[in-house]
Symmetry: C2
Subunit: 230 residues, 2 copies
C-alpha cells in the first residue's frame, strides 16, 4: 500500500462536541427547553434534511440553511418565539462548537507529518469560523459544499482526493461514525475510527462496528497521532 499522505477529518462529533456545546448554549441564553433533548432533536433533523437535498426535493442548501430550517421547526413545536437576531445567533452555535480535549493537540502533531483537512458536510464558512474560534490548525478546509454533494455520497471523498492531487489510497478518513468510514473505504480511502462515546451525551447511542473493520482505531486525535508516528 502507498503511504498515507493526507488525513481528512469528519468534524461534528469527531473533532468537536456538538452535544455539550449546544447544552451549554441553551443554558447560557436561558432557552426554556431541556438542553440535551433539544441538542439531540436538532441533530436528528440533519440526516433527513440532507436527504431532502440529495433527493432533489430541496435545492442545494448549505448546513447553515438546513440547521436554521430545523431550528425554526423545533422552536415552533415548543411554542418558543425568538427575535430574528436571536435565532440567527443561536443557529451560529454550530460555528462555535468546542473541540474535544485531545483535538487541537492531536491535529498540531499530525500536521507536522501529514496534510490535515476537514471533510465535513458543514459549509466552508462554518468550518472556517469554527477553526478560528477553536484554534483548529487545518492545512485546508474542505467541505461537501465544494462538491455539491453531502457525505456519504462518493463525490465528496473522491473530490477531496482530486483536490489534494492524491490517489484515494493515500487519504485517510478520520471519523467517529462507522457509516462515514465505510463510504470512504468504498471509494478507496483508508480509515481511522475514533469512537466518541459522549457524542450524544452520557449513555447516548453509537453506531455498531466490527473489530478489524478499520485501518486504525484510536482513543482520540492525540492517540491517532501517536499511532501514526507523530
Amino acid at each position: 500500500m502507498p503511504p498515507v499522505r493526507a488525513l481528512t477529518f469528519d468534524i461534528f462529533g469527531t473533532v468537536v462536541d456538538w452535544y455539550g456545546s449546544i447544552v451549554a448554549e441553551v443554558a447560557r441564553i436561558g432557552l426554556p427547553v431541556d438542553g440535551g433533548e433539544f441538542a439531540l432533536a436538532w441533530r436528528a433533523g440533519y440526516q433527513p434534511a440532507m436527504q431532502e437535498v440529495r433527493s432533489g426535493a430541496l435545492p442545494w442548501t448549505n448546513i447553515d440553511g438546513l440547521h436554521r430550517r430545523i431550528l425554526d421547526r423545533l422552536l415552533t413545536a415548543r411554542g418558543i418565539t425568538l427575535s430574528e437576531s436571536a435565532a440567527t445567533d443561536l443557529n451560529l452555535v454550530w460555528h462555535r462548537l468546542t473541540p474535544w480535549p485531545d483535538s487541537v493537540a492531536g491535529l498540531t502533531r499530525l500536521k507536522s507529518r501529514y496534510t490535515t483537512t476537514t471533510l465535513s458536510n458543514g459549509n466552508l464558512s462554518l468550518l472556517v469560523a469554527m477553526a478560528k474560534h477553536a484554534a483548529l490548525p487545518w492545512d485546508a478546509v474542505l467541505s461537501a459544499e465544494l462538491f455539491g454533494h453531502y457525505k456519504p455520497d462518493p463525490e465528496v471523498y473522491l473530490g477531496a482526493a482530486r483536490l489534494l492531487d492524491l490517489p484515494p489510497q493515500q487519504l485517510m478518513m478520520v471519523a467517529a461514525h462507522p457509516s462515514d468510514l465505510r463510504a470512504a473505504a468504498a471509494c478507496g480511502l483508508r480509515t481511522a475510527y475514533i469512537p466518541r462515546p459522549l457524542e450524544r451525551g452520557p449513555g447516548g447511542a453509537m453506531e455498531a462496528w466490527a473489530e478489524g473493520e478499520f485501518d486504525c482505531v484510536a482513543r482520540g486525535v492525540d492517540d491517532l497521532a501517536a499511532q501514526l508516528g507523530c
Copy 2:
C-alpha cells in the same frame, strides 16, 4: 460601507517570490540556462496557457499541468533533456516558492482580526504544499480550481464571496497586480495593492496604475496589517 471581514490574497508575486525562487532552483540543480531569463519565460507562458483553457481550446487543466506544458516547451526549445522524475521535481518548484520577508509576519497579524485566504489561480494542492513549506497561516485555501475558472474571470471573486458567506463588499482582494484588483473591484470587492518592484527581478516591468485607484496601497503584508489596525 460595511466593514471588511475577509482578505483574499493573490499568491504568485504578491505573497511569494517566484522569480527569486526559480533563479535559485535553476542554480541549485545546475540547469544550463540563464536563471532570470528562464524564470521570466516560464511565467510568460502562464497567461496564454490560461487563455487556452478559458477559450475552450484546452479542457480544464490545473496550474501544475499548465506549468508542466510550458516547462516541456522551454526545455525542448533549449535542447535540454531531463528525466521524468527531474522534470516532475523541477515543475514542483512552484510548490516551494519563498515568501517575501514581510508575508508570514503580516499574515499572522491579519489573521487575528480577519479571515485570511488564498485566492489564486494555483491549484489547491499546490497552495496547500506551499503553505506547509513556507508556514503561511491561512484560514482557508481557496483556488480558482474550485470554480472551474481562472482569474480575472468574475466567477472566482464571486465564488470566494459565496463560500465565505459574505457580500463582495466585505472581502478585500490583496494583490501585486492592478489587473487582478480591477477585476475584483468590478465584482464589488475592496482592493489592496502591494507593489512588488522585484517580482520580475531587478528592473523588471510592473503594470501601470493610478493614485487613488485602490482602497489601500501597502509596502508589504506587514504594512497592510498596520494600516488595517492589526
